[in-house]
Amino acid sequence: MKTGARVSGVGAARDDSETRPTVTVADVGLESVRKNFGDFTAVDGVDLEVGKGEFFSLLGPSGSGKTTCLRMIAGFEEPTSGRILLQGRDVSKLAPYDRDVNTVFQDYALFPHMTVRKNVEYGLKVKRVPADDRTGRATEALRMVRLTDFDDRRPAELSGGQRQRVALARALVNEPRVLLLDEPLGALDLKLREEMQIELKQIQQRVGLTFIYVTHDQEEALTMSDRLAVMNKGKIEQVGTPADVYERPTSSFVAGFVGVSNVLSAGVAQRIAGEGRSFTVRPEKIRLAASDEHPQPEECSAQGHVQEVIYVGAHTRYVVELEGGGSLVVLRQNLSSSSMEALKVKGKQVQLIWNRKHNTFVDDATLDFDQTDGSGKEKR
């Protein structure tokens, strides 16, 4: 599904270039954008190109500069240096109302003194769209987010999920070139969030809009995006498709933030893989084996003992302390094992075996990244 979405994104860009035989212009572009707040550098030289119709995510921990990037694209903040381009046009100095983008705010920012319909019609009314046209488009937008019988309600009378939909309809009704979403699902509970993820993705594909989606939830970014950028401390660590970022992280920060860290330092790597560079291996690629099993030539192995067993329903997570130093997280589907069986392994001596090709070498620079943070994100 991820690759399918990716292909459709590229396809949309290609269609566009056929109608305009010139070089394809990115829908949204950031050119060495910096943003300082006093002494604090929120965004530190970001370059980015987002294609037309693409679902692009900015993923990162809080304070990584992702929201500031979004706010600069929307026009709420002016970059300290660098340029913001929309369809190739420099909009860095333009006010929000002069940009063909709309935003879905984290707190929805629905106007409390207006009904649902008034909220949705606001953008059209402001742009002096004739009344009957306005009504039709608002009805269509509300239908798209499946909120047809709520016209006269006030935002205060709606549930969180419904407010979210109104916010979406209010932005979509303006038919912007680009839709910016700032952690739009952050305030919803897990179940609703998963539903809305699917719905958002469907809406995006149907209307063919460029979405720029800010989130700190790696699972959300992986499941929804065509491409994503992982941000850390105001810089972009890696840009790529979800599969790229997940399977071939270029830094230990990305490895840790997107999924479980499982980064082994250069010294340990030398002993296990025979190569003195630190690498990461995804927990689901590793299998637990008896300590006397002989690995195949193409496989890596490490002895250790199980320090922690976390039963998560569909799978179980094992934290294994390696004898040569460091620790690895192993994920195992609960194909036949019950929780009792899974938990019994705790404290036992085991051997970890995985195929060498799953080793992804990363730079050592940010090895201090907090592992628990990464795994905590995954649990959501």
């Binding site: 709420f76 709309n102 705010f105 629905l110 606001y122 953008g123 402001v126 932005a171």
Partner: protein
């Protein structure tokens, strides 16, 4: 658990039992908390208001000037039928509205700037300069305005320098209006500042994001949301003007409701008539409050 046990052990047993007993009776606790202040309000405010209303039905002996405690409608009849008293009431009402409107117009931009535009230091300075006049005596400020507005005062001096002629507004309703507007401005500006400050920034950003320029955002989003607070602030200017009698004496040349009451009590010793006339602003204020409630002013408090 053990901590709690030691804590309660040190407390006297009876006290502990009493507090446990009270804990199970939230209504009684509320009653004990609100009872005394509510009783105070009831006796002092509503009691006094009732007495005022009732006193209005008494009369004054024409010869001895003593209060006669016999019931009659003469005072109220006189107020309703006399053109002079009607004019005074309408004049007071008109000036109160004028002052209220002026203060809203003056306070809105300043309050908006302080709440939404200014940096923290500027904001503090601005709020300080709004409230600073309150630290000096009311009389000093009124006399200061008398100096400014007098025939040879600062106003006419400035106008003369600008070759704009001169204004003869000393001791007039114009000067009463100006002085009142100045005096009550802090009371209007502060609630409006609070109301504007409470409008979430994201609403304003959302409005701009949806294509509205500053003025449209202000008119369609900021103003409606801050409106109850603005009405609440305006109430101060209205109520304070309605009850004041010093400014008309010092800066004006006409009578206001307050002056009539003051003269009835202090000069003529006709307390019953003063009481009856005091019902007029009370009624006006009642009507105003009902209107303000309709506009949602109390939801903002």
């Amino acid at each position: 658990m053990t901590e709690m046990a030691t804590a309660t052990a040190t407390q006297p047993k009876a006290l502990h039992r009493a507090s446990a007993w009270l804990h199970r009776r939230p209504k009684l606790r509320l009653g004990m908390l609100l009872g005394p202040p509510m009783a105070w309000m009831l006796v002092v405010y509503l009691g006094a208001l009732t007495l005022l209303f009732l006193t209005g039905f008494w009369s004054q002996n024409v010869l001895t000037a003593e209060v006669q405690r016999t019931w009659g409608l003469e005072n109220y009849q006189e107020i309703l039928s006399s053109a002079a008293y009607r004019t005074i009431a309408l004049r007071t009402l008109g000036i109160a509205f004028a002052v209220m409107t002026t203060d809203i117009i003056l306070a809105l931009p300043v309050a908006y700037f302080a709440a939404r535009v200014a940096r923290p230091t500027t904001r503090v300075l601005l709020l300080l300069s709004i409230t600073l006049p309150l630290w000096s005596s009311y009389l000093v400020r009124v006399y200061a305005w008398r100096v400014i507005l007098s025939g040879t005062g600062l106003l006419n001096w400035t106008l003369g320098k600008l070759q704009l002629g001169a204004l003869d507004i000393e001791y007039s309703n114009w000067s009463v209006w100006i002085v009142f507007s100045y005096l009550w401005l802090p009371f209007v500006a502060l609630p409006i500042y609070t109301a504007l400050e409470r409008v979430p920034t994201s609403y304003i950003e959302a409005s701009a994001d949806l294509g509205a320029k500053w003025w449209l955002t202000f008119r369609r989003v900021v103003l409606p949301i801050a409106f109850p607070g603005i009405v609440a602030g305006a109430m101060f200017a209205f109520a304070l003007t309605l009850g004041d009698y010093i400014v008309p004496i010092l800066a004006g040349n006409t009578l206001f409701i307050g002056n009539v009451i003051y003269q009835s009590v202090g000069v003529a010793n006709n307390v019953p008539f003063a009481a009856a006339y005091a019902v007029v602003p009370a009624v006006i204020m009642g009507v105003y409050l009902i209107g303000a409630r309709k506009l949602g002013a109390f939801e903002a408090l």
